[in-house]
Point group: C2
Chain length 245, copies 2
């Protein structure tokens, strides 16, 4: 249909990078491509902290749950949802600051994700590989301290960028019939479709790891949702001024 | 640098569409391109409700704050964060369901945004125009009822798709220096850069509307953050099982 569609469909996370640096001019283009993504109410609620210092990178790799590529990738950056930049102007215009509603949290978080995903597509279009690092939310407090993130700003995820030094398979996705519904939410047929998909995923892991880790999709995600996942996030975000009003 | 980067940088929202339909084969490719985006912990926490019935589209246009293109675009879909699909399997594997933490909410919301943005890029690459519709969060309860969204699923935003019948200007973004920081959060120089940007935005609105609406970026976003924005979202989400624990 289009080479861009083929590019998008060929995405896989890269966790091993060559030593090749990314040209400054290219980095600038990637940021501009990301920035051009849609932004809710024109907020532009993203701030990207680009981290180059080796000691900070090492520390972030550790805080993200020991992910060595955070230290080793040509570029690593942390995407932050930022309500401070806009909030700074409330006083200037004689308005009260009320930007701590759940809705504001959604707007800023979605803004960040849209920007990041456009930057990712731009990067992949020139042969770079990427890996999102949700693991920085393991330790959002120390990460925020390290990057001196003020109130009104929180680290949503990290992103590794670099030239790939591996060529992993594309991970199969759920059947479209399960993801895309017509007119209303309807689970008919999903159980059967997911059963077949589970078989594919077991097989995917078997061929990748040589026999050991043949876990299905449904079992993985059931585990995810049976865990008190990062229970510190709520308190951390409230401290940062996201009050979920 | 790459035609994909040029494509991404040329994004603008389209709110007027021709009557031309989108071929079913192309729609399927767009969904697959979206689905190939990264997904946190392999959750795949997105469900897309594709709405075609004219009466439902009219109702959604109304619920989104009277946005006529919601009814008129060739395609309209609602992107939902979905923790139900995965949560269904907790019982099957004998695990407790704990998927109502703030972290789970972030994971699912980010998943949706990444998928949508890849779908958007795919669409724009074949000449389609798009408009995100955050306005559906004006009335998330009625929208959810209309689409029969169960507990564990919430509508994040809508998306209009169609062939453009207008050619709006690209809206200037904040200077890169304001958005991208080195090593840590640092506002030095931002005030001045935003002042200059405010002038550009005033000018952008002046030339677009013929003199009337010369509002700056900082004033717009200060207003956004001085409003108790969609204060119903918290209660709505809690009803839907997102407990922000």
């Amino acid at each position: 249909m289009s080479s861009v569609i083929d590019l998008l469909k060929s995405h896989r996370s890269i966790r091993k990078f060559t030593d090749q640096a990314i040209e400054p001019e290219l980095m600038e283009e990637l940021f501009k491509a990301g920035q051009a993504a849609a932004t809710s109410s024109f907020l532009q609620g993203s701030t990207v902290i680009r981290v180059s210092k080796p000691e900070t990178r090492e520390e972030l790799a550790r805080l993200a749950g020991n992910q060595p590529y955070v230290a080793k990738a040509a570029e690593f950056m942390i995407f932050c949802a930022d309500l401070k930049r806009a909030g700074n102007y409330c006083e200037a215009y004689g308005k009260p600051f009320e930007g701590d509603f759940t809705e504001h949290f959604i707007i800023a978080t979605v803004d960040v994700a849209l920007m990041a995903q456009s930057l990712v597509t731009a990067a992949e279009s020139v042969g770079l590989g990427i890996c999102y690092i949700g693991g920085i939310r393991n330790n959002p407090g120390p990460v925020s301290e390290l990057l001196q993130l003020p109130k009104g700003v929180y680290p949503v995820f990290g992103l590794c960028l670099g030239y790939p030094d591996q060529d992993p398979e594309i991970k199969p996705r759920l059947p479209l019939s399960v993801i895309v519904k017509r007119e209303c939410y309807d689970e008919e047929g999903d159980k059967q479709a997911i059963e077949e998909y589970d078989d594919r995923i077991r097989e995917y892991y078997r061929t990748r790891t040589g026999g050991g880790h043949g876990i299905s999709w449904s079992e993985q995600v059931a585990t995810l949702l049976s865990e008190k996942s990062r229970p510190h996030m709520k308190g951390f975000l409230e401290d940062k001024g996201f009050k979920f009003r």
